[in-house]
C-alpha cells in the first residue's frame, strides 16, 4: 500500500505555495498535517503529481486574539488548539470538540486548516466552523479574500477554495457572555468519524433565545450543514424540553442524510435528532453563560 509516484516541494512562504499551485494546477495538492490525505494517497485514491508541503511556512500556525476574534493560523495542529488557553477561554465549544477527533497521535499532526479544506462531512471541524460563524482567509494569485463558513462547504469533499488558493487563517468570534452552546457526537468507537454530530450555539436575550441560533450537523452524506428550519423554530422562544424535542425532530427532517456501511438513512436521521437534542440539552444545562466550565 504505497502511494503513486509524485514530486515533492516544500513551499517557503504562502506566496511560494500560491505560485506553485498556479504552476502545477490540478496536478498539485497541498499537504498540511496529512492525516487524511496520506491514507488516501497510500490507498492510491488520491494521486497528486506534485505534493506541496506547507509545513515549513513560518507564521502559518498560531493563535492570536484581536478585536473579539480568535485568529487561528491554518497550520495550527489540533494538539496546539487543545493546549491553548485562548481557545479554552475564547471558544470553549471548539475546545470541547477536539478530543472527539481521532486519537492523540493524529491530533499531534492534523491541522485545523487541513480538516476544513478536506471537508469530510463526518469530521468535527466543518460542523464547528458552521456553528461558530467562522470566516476563512484565503489567499490566491489575485490577493486575499474572506469566505464565511456558511458559503464554504459546498458538497462531498468540495469547498469554495480555488485550486490556486491557500487557506491562511480561520477567524472565529469569541464566545459572548450571553451565549450557550453544546456539542454531541455519535460514532461507532471513540475517535471514529461521526455517524451523526451536532454543534449548537444559542445567543440569549434575557431569558429568551435571540435570533442568533446556530445548529450545525455532521456525519451526513455530502457536507456538514446548518439546520436552518430548526434554528428558526428556536429563535425568540424559551428553551424548554418540548422545544428541544421539536427542534431536534425538525433538524433531522431537513438535512440530507444518506446511508452507508454503518447506518441506514432512517437510523442516521434518528441519530441526528438524538445528537441535536443532546447538544441543545447541554446548552440548556449550562449554568455559566459562556459554558467555559466543563
Amino acid at each position: 500500500m504505497k502511494p503513486a509516484p509524485f514530486q515533492y516541494v516544500a513551499a517557503k512562504s504562502v506566496d511560494d505555495a500560491i505560485a506553485l499551485l498556479s504552476k502545477y494546477g490540478a496536478d498539485a495538492k497541498l499537504i498540511a498535517g496529512g492525516q487524511s490525505l496520506v491514507p488516501m494517497m497510500n490507498f492510491r485514491l488520491a494521486r497528486p503529481e506534485w505534493l506541496i508541503d506547507i509545513n515549513r511556512i513560518d507564521g502559518l500556525a498560531g493563535i492570536t486574539q484581536q478585536n473579539g476574534m480568535l485568529r487561528i493560523g491554518s497550520l495550527t495542529r489540533y494538539s496546539e488548539l487543545e493546549a491553548s488557553e485562548a481557545v479554552q477561554r475564547g471558544v470553549p465549544l471548539l475546545r470541547q470538540m477536539l478530543p472527539h477527533i481521532a486519537h492523540e497521535a493524529i491530533r499531534n499532526r492534523g491541522t485545523i486548516g487541513g480538516s476544513i479544506c478536506h471537508a469530510d462531512p463526518a469530521a468535527e471541524m466543518p460542523v464547528a466552523m458552521l456553528a461558530l460563524d467562522a470566516t476563512f482567509e484565503l489567499r490566491g494569485p489575485s490577493g486575499a479574500r474572506r469566505v464565511a463558513a456558511d458559503d464554504f462547504f459546498l458538497g462531498q469533499m468540495t469547498t469554495g477554495i480555488e485550486a490556486d488558493e491557500v487557506l491562511v487563517a480561520i477567524k472565529i468570534p469569541e464566545t459572548k457572555n450571553d451565549e450557550r452552546h453544546g456539542f454531541s457526537e455519535f460514532a461507532r468507537r471513540r475517535g471514529d468519524f461521526a455517524l451523526a454530530s451536532a454543534a449548537v450555539v444559542l445567543r440569549f436575550n434575557g431569558g429568551m433565545i435571540s435570533d442568533h441560533v446556530r445548529i450545525a450537523v455532521g456525519g451526513l452524506s455530502e457536507r456538514a450543514e446548518r439546520a436552518r428550519k430548526a434554528e428558526a423554530l428556536l429563535a425568540g422562544k424559551t428553551l424548554t424540553p418540548t422545544l428541544i424535542e421539536e427542534a431536534a425532530h425538525t433538524a433531522s427532517g431537513e438535512v440530507q442524510a444518506g446511508q452507508d456501511l454503518h447506518a441506514t438513512e432512517a437510523y442516521r436521521r434518528s441519530l441526528i435528532a438524538t445528537q441535536v437534542k443532546q447538544a441543545l440539552a447541554v446548552a440548556a444545562d449550562r449554568t455559566s453563560s459562556t459554558g467555559a466550565k466543563k
Binding site: 503513486a4 509516484p5 509524485f6 514530486q7 516544500a10 492525516q35 505534493l51 509545513n55 497521535a105 499531534n108
Partner: protein, 163 residues
C-alpha cells in the same frame, strides 16, 4: 512515469544525526526500517489506524506511516530503539514484562512509544487515562487489560526511581 527526484533529508534518530537520500513517497516508517535498519517500528495498517508505527517526532507521538520521510527534515525522532533496550530497559519495558503486557509483541513498540510520552505528561494516571491514551493503538492479543496494568506499574517504577 517521469524519474522521481530523490531528496536529501537530515534529522536525528534517537539522538544520532542521519542524512538520507529518499524518494518523496517513502514514508518515515519505511525510511526508518529499510534505510536505517530500525525494524522495531512496525507497520500494521499504513492508514493511520493501528498505531504500530508510532514514533516520537520532537517528543510527540505521531504515525510514521502518515508522514513522508522527506517531511521530517530537522526533526528529532525517537523510535522504540531509543526508548531502552534489554541491557537498560525503560520502566515501561520492565513493566510490560512484569505485568504480561504483550503476547505476540507486534503492537508493543507502538504502545510503549505512545505511553512513554503519555507518562511524561501524566505521571500518576488512572486506568481510564491509560485507556484513553492507548485508544489509538490496536492490540489483537491482550484485550488491553495487562497493557493498562503495565502502564500503571511503569508510572510506579518511574515515581519510585525519583530521588
Amino acid at each position: 512515469m517521469s524519474e522521481l527526484k530523490q531528496h536529501d533529508v537530515a534529522f536525528t534518530v534517537n539522538g544520532k544525526a542521519e542524512t538520507l537520500s529518499v524518494s518523496p513517497r517513502t514514508s518515515l516508517a519505511d525510511a526508518l526500517r529499510d534505510t536505517l535498519g530500525l525494524t522495531g517500528t512496525h507497520i500494521g495498517c499504513e492508514h493511520g489506524v493501528c498505531g504500530a508505527c508510532t514514533v516520537l517526532l520532537d517528543g510527540k507521538p505521531v504515525r510514521s506511516c502518515l508522514l513522508f520521510a522527506v517531511q521530517a527534515e530537522g526533526a528529532a525522532i525517537t523510535t522504540i530503539e531509543g526508548i531502552g533496550d534489554a541491557q537498560s530497559p525503560h520502566p515501561l519495558q520492565r513493566a510490560f514484562n512484569e505485568c504480561h503486557g504483550l503476547h505476540c509483541g507486534f503492537c508493543t513498540p507502538g504502545m510503549i512509544v505512545t505511553l512513554s510520552a503519555f507518562l511524561k505528561e501524566h505521571p500518576q494516571p488512572t486506568s481510564a487515562d491509560v485507556r484513553e491514551a492507548i485508544s489509538g493503538n490496536l492490540c489483537m492479543c491482550t484485550g488491553y487489560q495487562n497493557i493498562v496494568r503495565s502502564a500503571l506499574r511503569a508510572a510506579e517504577l518511574i515515581e519510585g526511581a525519583k530521588p
